[in-house]
Each structure stands twice: as C-alpha cells, then as structure tokens.
Amino acid sequence: MTEAHVTAEELMDFVQGQLAPAEERRIEQHANACPPCAKQLSAEAYTELAIQGAMVNLRQKRARGPWPWLGAAALVALAGGGAMWKVAGEPEAIRAESELGAATKEPWRLLYMDADGATRFATAMDPAVPFRGSPSRVLRGEPSTRSDGAFLAQRFQAAKYLGKRVRFSAWLRGENVTYGAGLSVGALKLGPRVDKPKPRGSANTPPEGALVGTRDWTAYEVTLDIPADASTITVDVFLNAAGKVWIAEPRFDVVGPSPTQQTSVLPGPADPTLPDDFRR
C-alpha cells in the first residue's frame, strides 16, 4: 500500500456524509485494500452510529416522544411471526424422503463465526426438554458483547437432489435468543480445486421470521431448488449471538422437482429417521 492512509478528518467526513462522491469512493477503495484503514473506518462508523443514537435520545428527551428506531433497529428486537416461512403444524412428509437419517453418518458439527466461539457456544442432548417423547438437542450461546453466532451443520452429497426442490425443516424452541435463530440450506459446487467451493444458492429463515426471545416449539422450514451442477448440500440450525435454541425432528425432504429445472426423477418415499446424533 503506497497510497497515504486515510486521515482522521477524512474518516470523520466520510461517516458524516460530508465528502463529494469521488472523494468518498477514493476512501472506500483505499479502505478495501488497507486493513488498518478499514479498521479505523469501522470504528468511526460505530462511533457515528452511537452519536446518532445519543442525538436521537436527546431529541426524545426534549420532545418526550417514544423511543425511536435505534432501540428497535440496532439492539435486539427482530420482529416475530413471518407467515411466509413458518408453517403451522407438522411439516408435510408426503412424497418426501429424509436425508438426515441413515444416509448421513456424519454427526452434526458445531461451527462458529468467531475464533473463540468454542468458549461461548456448546451443544448437547437435553433430556429435560423432550419433544414428542424424545430428547431434543440444545444449542447454547453465552451472553457476550460480541454479536456473532454459531451453527449446527451437516453436509452431504447433492447428487440425489439435483434439479429438485428440497426442504429442510425442524421444530425449534427458544429461550432468551437475542439476535435470532433459524434454519438454512445451501448448495455448493466443488470445482477442480476442492478448497475453493462455490456457493450455488442458499435459503435461510429471514430476519423477520427468526426465532427471537422465548418461544415454545414451533415448526420452521426453508426450501431450496438444487441446481444441476451442485455437488454438496449443507443444512444448518443457526443461533446468532446468545440464548438457547432446542432442535427436534430435523428433516430434509424432497418436495418435488424444481420448477426452474428439467428433471424426470420422482421423489422417493418418506423416511422420518432422525440422525443418530439427535437420538443420543
């Protein structure tokens, strides 16, 4: 990096929106290539947001009005509900096959968004919170100033599902979940270099539908059309930040051919077997 670093004054002007577009772009380009300046920019952006929050509070105190966007937006309250992805009742199993049973021998893996996630996130079977008579699995995140998360993930070969619409579903129960928990299904393509997998689509529980706070057992599902060139499918249950989420009856089903792709393969029969890891 031969170009001079961004000055404190320039950073201030940047986050306050005082710069001309060309100048703003120059600073962005520099920060994109200069980690120290990117870090400074991030800190200035955070400071700016905190100042804006303080100013909102100040105006509130003057006007004695309601707590504005900051309280809801920047802190915790992701809205509950979200009819577009949440299904009332048991996930439909007709014309479906379950991948998360005998076909998947790999245990669920706990992955972290952050290097020290292992110190704050843990998972275990929880006989104290059964679902339909079977123990559930709990994923727990300790409260922290960090806002990252962890997820329980499985992956398997995509070959059987190419050109099909698949659904990942599970029952979730939450306790004091701060930034949302939900499901995700993704497709990846392994190229000539196995260390450079390419994303080929994913579907996630959206923020307005994520499990936030404390909620009893609720059925969740996400669906994805698996492209013809995918090689690996990943499914995961994610927990952002802190709280506890219990998981029961995870299923991976074919719900039909993908409407966007040609396929003549019919879905197989239903198989509600849980992965061994969820039974122990």
């Binding site: 404190a8 004054e9 201030m12 986050v15 929106g17 005082q18 962005e28 380009q29 920060a31 994109n32 870090k39 991030s42 200035e44 952006a45 955070y46 400071t47 700016e48 947001l49 905190a50 100042i51 929050g53 100013m55 509070n57 100040l58 309601p66 966007w69 900051l70 309280g71 809801a72 937006a73 920047a74 802190l75 992701l78 809205a79 509900g81 577009m84 893996r109 992955l111 968004m113 952050d114 290097a115 100033t145 806002s147 990252d148 998360g149 997820f151 993930a153 992956r155 930034y179 995700s184 990846l188 196995v194 260390d195 997998p197 994303p199 994913s202 959206p206 307005e208 690996t232 952002n240």
Partner: protein, 174 residues
C-alpha cells in the same frame, strides 16, 4: 423513526426512502467490520430484498431505518455463515479471513456512554458539536456561518469531541 404506510409505497417512494436511509444501513455494516465494498453490496441487497418482500405482500410493517438495518445485519451474518461453510469444506476450522474481528452491532450501553462523555465536554465544544448533529446533512461551512465561528474552529472542535467519544467507547469495551 419512519413508519411507512405500506399501501402507499411505489417506486418513487422507495427511491426516496433509500436515499434517506441508505447511509445508516451502510454505516451499520461498516461498524460490523465489513470492508466498504461488501458493505455497499450488502446495503444494496438489503433494499432489493425489502422491495421484493413488499412486492410479494410479505412485509407487515416498514419501520425505517430499523428494519433495513436488521435485514442488512442478518445478511451480513448469513454471508459469514456461507464463508464458514465453505471454509469448513476445506477441513480447516480456523475462521476465514475477514471474520476474525468482532462484528459489532450498536449496543444501548454505548449510546449511554456517548451521552455521558458528551455531557462531560466543555460547554462551548458541546454547543458546536450539537449544532452540527442537529442537521447532520448540512455542510460544515453552513453550520459554522450560522454559529458565527470559523470553519476551521468548527472542524477542529468536531474532531476533538469525536476523539473523546471514541475513546470513551473504546474504554467501555476494554
């Protein structure tokens, strides 16, 4: 807060809402530690997602910029998971580059920290600082003219106060 009546949103109003709130969405992503290019990209995807959900009738309310910021932060985390998934395929559990810093979202306590630090500033400096933030989009030169001070004095004061506020925030995170 900007609670928008969903039924009256058309393309023009979307453009207006984006113009008004995009900067805060962008800043929220930068504050999470994303580089500017990715923050711009995610901010754009955020608005496209919201517009699509609105078109499909899936938005029950639109409170801005709150909803957009939450959506953007959610997308950022999703992107993070995607990277971890890819990384996990490499059988290497070290976090991928760019996700080893602490992603931050604004904490209520930090807002209080700024309020306290601001109250502790000299009255003159605080007056200038507050005048700037009363109209954050106004050019500094215009605010300086209105206050009857030089632009240089205004900007120096602004820099000094921001430095104090940032130090207070960093102290709070130690």
């Amino acid at each position: 807060m900007n609670l928008v009546a969903l039924e009256r949103i058309d393309v023009d109003l979307w453009n207006e809402l984006i113009a008004r709130h995009d900067r805060q969405v962008f800043l929220a992503l930068l504050a999470m530690g994303l580089p500017p290019d990715r923050a711009r990209d995610l901010a754009q995807r955020t608005w496209l997602t919201l517009m699509e959900r609105h078109r499909e009738g899936k938005l029950t309310s639109l409170e801005l910029p709150g909803l957009a910021i939450r959506q953007a932060q959610f997308l950022a985390r999703d992107e993070g998971r995607q990277r971890v998934r890819q990384h996990e395929l490499q059988r290497d559990f070290a976090p991928p580059e760019g996700y080893d810093d602490e992603p931050r979202v604004l904490a209520r306590e930090d807002v209080r920290t700024v309020e306290r630090a601001l109250r502790a500033c000299a009255p003159g400096a605080r007056r200038i600082f507050l005048a700037v933030y009363e109209e954050p989009t106004a050019p500094h030169a215009e605010v300086a003219r209105r206050l009857g001070i030089s632009l240089q004095h205004l900007r120096q004061t602004l820099c000094d106060v921001r430095r104090v506020l940032r130090a207070a925030l960093e102290d709070g995170h130690d």
